[in-house]
Symmetry: C2
């Protein structure tokens, strides 16, 4: 039924909470009705709705930093302009290989008041019972079904399908975070294992170190199922949504503008016994613009960073006749990231230094395949342009506000910040195994364009960060600049670190940086903690090299 003011209730299409039936066909029918009637709102009711891929829409998607493929999508919001989806407390439980939400050339979309989970996770967890030479004895509950086959440990899913992993990482189930100084073991998908008893296996991992009682997490092999995929869209609000699980990133946005996350919680499903929430970054933004705002969010226990905001460098692989250039998207998860368009402004950089030596306007674009694009500029090629250089969008860059968020207990780092807009990181609480804030970017491996121009880090609490292996400082500037090019580079600029609290169990640096032009560190408080063993004797709180305009008031 279509209520007054264009509100559609999913129950009109046969989906009832708690029924256990596949609600996907009802969602498709409801969205068709929204399109036809231009309804402004689609509502659900409190309770559980289940979704399978069987009758879902299908679309081939290239999703930056995730895996491409022909995706089954439950809420396909492609092309929608003006729609609110209000879960009203609904619990969405997904089954098998589906993408819950897709925004594709969508505008003015709000999604609120719901949670996202999967019946069977894309990762698996086991309790470490004992550790031997190159072996670990594990106890596995039936939340993570498995079999032993061909001398290998194989995790299985709802329909006995294989649930592939590619690495293992130790978590501390009491502290609810990665174990102190735990590192990834990149096992690949074939892990030799033998049976010890019901639910008990011995796996063979070269040089494995771990602590009995801790949890060994088998990381998902692929990134196929983000919760929210947002591409070429604008004005997206995600409000009061819990992402308990998904098989890739929580929110991945590319080539989109104006995104607002408020009270978004990435956290393990309550009562599930899991230590891990989702299998990749909580949030990620590539070539976005306008304003990215994240307030009152919780990002914990996911298998990668809390956010990464950056652009894409494509590599110049050939100079063709008549001034035509060939560019390649180097990283496999960048394939199909078609960002070159006629009329746009681009920057040209040398790979090792990432110094912008020229800006130009694109005249024509000839996409060859998902890796290679040919293009021409409106002006003659700069004389210094050579194969191996990189090209990227020269703006627009997003302004970013991250405020009052809690970031903790996840694998790797907190906030990776690589926007050249105005960035404000304020009133957040960090407890990260790696760097809490990392400024990266490189044009030689990940090909991520970064380099801040105006970054304020203010009134945050950094509590016992760097208890793991992913970073050496709380705030780290580690752009992928060749050491020979770091002096006078200024890749990152105008950084203010003020009025923060740093609670440190170690003498690891508070700020480590190089190639910075403009760094002010002032009015911060330092507290000593004994929460973890110290491991960096002799480090200095500030390790700044190859930088200019540096003012450090704190000691």
């Amino acid at each position: 039924a279509i209520h007054a003011q264009g509100v559609i209730d999913i129950s009109a299409f046969g989906a009832k909470p708690g029924s256990g039936a596949d609600a996907t066909p009802a969602v498709r029918a409801a969205l068709d009705a929204c399109r036809k009637t231009k309804a402004a709102k689609l509502v659900f009711s409190e309770g559980q709705y289940d979704f399978w891929p069987t009758h879902a829409s299908e679309k081939y998607l290239f999703v930056s930093n995730n895996d491409e493929g022909l995706k089954r999508i439950v809420f396909d919001l492609s092309g929608f302009n003006g729609l609110e989806i209000d879960g009203r407390g609904a619990r969405f439980v997904f089954h098998r290989g589906v993408n819950p939400f897709l925004l594709d050339h969508s505008r003015n979309i709000t999604i609120r008041n719901l949670s996202i989970d999967w019946k069977r996770t894309f990762h698996s967890e086991a309790k470490i019972v004992a550790v031997g030479k190159d072996t670990a004895d594990l106890s596995i509950t039936d939340a993570f079904p498995f079999k032993l086959e061909n001398g290998l440990l194989v995790f299985t899913g709802e329909d006995k399908e294989v649930v592939p992993f590619q690495n293992v990482l130790e978590f501390d189930p009491v502290k609810r975070e990665t174990a102190y100084m735990a590192r990834d073991y990149w096992t690949g998908q074939n892990l030799p294992a033998t049976a010890l008893g019901p639910g008990q296996v011995r796996v063979r991992i070269s040089k494995f170190e771990g602590t009995p009682g801790n949890t060994l997490v088998f990381g998902a092999a692929y990134r196929n199922f983000p919760a929210f995929t947002v591409t070429d869209s604008e004005n997206f609000k995600l409000l009061s949504v819990s992402i308990y699980h998904c098989g890739a990133m929580g929110v991945i946005a590319q080539r989109s503008r104006d995104i607002d996350l408020d009270h978004v919680r990435v956290t393990p499903a309550p009562g599930s016994g899991r230590v891990v929430s989702i299998t990749a970054d909580a949030t990620h933004f590539v070539n976005c613009s306008g304003r990215i705002v994240m307030t009152n969010c919780l990002f914990e226990n996911q298998k990668d960073d809390a956010t990464n905001i950056h652009g894409i460098y494509a590599q110049i692989t050939a100079k063709l006749p008549d001034g035509e250039l060939e560019a390649k998207l180097v990283h496999p998860q960048q394939r199909g990231f078609d960002f070159l368009v006629a009329g746009m402004k681009v920057e040209l950089v040398h790979g090792p230094s990432m110094i912008t030596y020229s800006e130009a306007v694109v005249q024509t674009v000839d996409r060859r395949n998902s890796e290679y694009t040919r293009f021409r500029l409106t002006t003659p090629l700069p004389a210094e342009l050579k194969v191996g250089d990189a090209v990227a969008a020269a703006g627009p860059y997003p302004d970013v506000v991250i405020r009052n968020c809690t970031i903790r207990g996840n694998r790797a780092r907190g906030l990776l910040l690589g926007s050249r807009g105005k960035i404000l990181i304020e009133d957040n609480t960090f407890h990260t195994a790696g760097a809490a804030i990392l400024l990266e970017g490189d044009a030689r491996y990940w090909f991520e364009q970064a380099g801040v121009r105006d970054l304020v880090i203010r009134r945050n609490r950094f509590e016992d960060c760097n208890y793991g292996v992913w970073g050496k400082a709380v705030i780290e500037v580690a752009a992928g600049i060749d050491p020979k090019e770091r002096a006078h580079n200024g890749y990152n600029r105008n950084i203010v670190v003020e009025e923060n609290l740093f609670r440190q169990f170690d003498t690891n640096p508070i700020v480590s940086a190089y190639s910075v032009d403009g760094l002010k560190v002032r009015k911060n408080r330092l507290e000593k903690s004994t929460a973890y063993p110290a491991r960096n004797p002799g480090s200095k709180p500030f390790e700044i090299t190859d930088s200019v305009h540096v003012e450090i008031e704190d000691q």
Copy 2:
């Protein structure tokens, strides 16, 4: 350069035979030039041209009976009308994951005088050195690189990528055919193995039987790389082309009409030492029409049948409101086979019997995803229609001529014939491990629409067929009709078997059939052979049941 009469020479775009360089960019440029200038012909020269996927075109393809995916295509002839490609003796060598030729909505295409091979095959071969209890000791040449990893045998390719297999099958390298009564072992991709010495491994295969000296063939795990993919096209001529290898079927044509193969040879690359040519069917035709003609061809040593000509049954999975039906493409390799179109005539059949109980015209089609399509008919639904029934195209069906071809030494069967047009099989030579001619079709597992209406099998030589496990008779009618439905079924009709020579080492049936209406067997010659051990003592030369209008003049 563009010659007189619109002939383009590939050398004008920088590709030289024997250079070892990637000729793919030159092919793309040459085809662009052909489009622009409406050139009628593209020529190559004698010698070797190499092709990689790096700069190839890309397209998502659903290819019936093969694997779908985002394909890299070297010769993308999509949309071409009127083009001849003359290799003039060229040897095309492909590398890694490419599709050599794609016809997609193409018309009037001729391809001639070239050969197709791969540097590294998609299958692997090993010599059986010894056989133990559940083990086989193998010797592997460096034509098929491999490694032992995690206690598994892993074959590798040109760039050390994994070359996955899924089964093993024994071949006789002296006779150059599958070994007598050899069967597939479905190992899956993970095969436990240990090292015995350089190039020597011991693999563990439950209940393995084989003969030292024979060749064990590791079959390709996927069907991603057919040599010629022909979809929605008409008037295609393939003349004097050798397909030495590819990673799927040699020629797969779907929804196309008027296809002519003359002097097409599917055979192992000369001098390569391989026993296997290609990794799936030599040819395959799905929902085709017009005339399919194959003359003077050689189909040997491929890993599946020589041909299979059939339609697709989709399963009715739901009756929706307002007379709408939902149909599902059941077999995973049928996904995306969109054959239902508004205005077409369809037949409705019951699954177990495949009896056509109704014909109707499609009014509207709503494709839901690559598996499910909803549709309506122009007339009310028949009262007997129920979920589980199947729907298929009710014509047009192709007329088929297969003449003067040699079919031998491959895995499985010779010609699978399921067209309801006029079929003439004349002057061919068969030496097949399974049935030489098989009439199948079923609406319960493979969902292949078949059932001949006019089939003449005349003046062929059937030499020592059925030396393997894939079929019990030389000419076999084994449609997937439930035994309870076989009487009065007449799924296959009007079959004439005359003036053939049957050389038999066994007393296996010459013709076994059921549910046939109209079978004439006359003027055939029978010769006794001792080429293989007999295994069917007491079989009768003709085993015909549940059939009418049967006249067998020979004894």
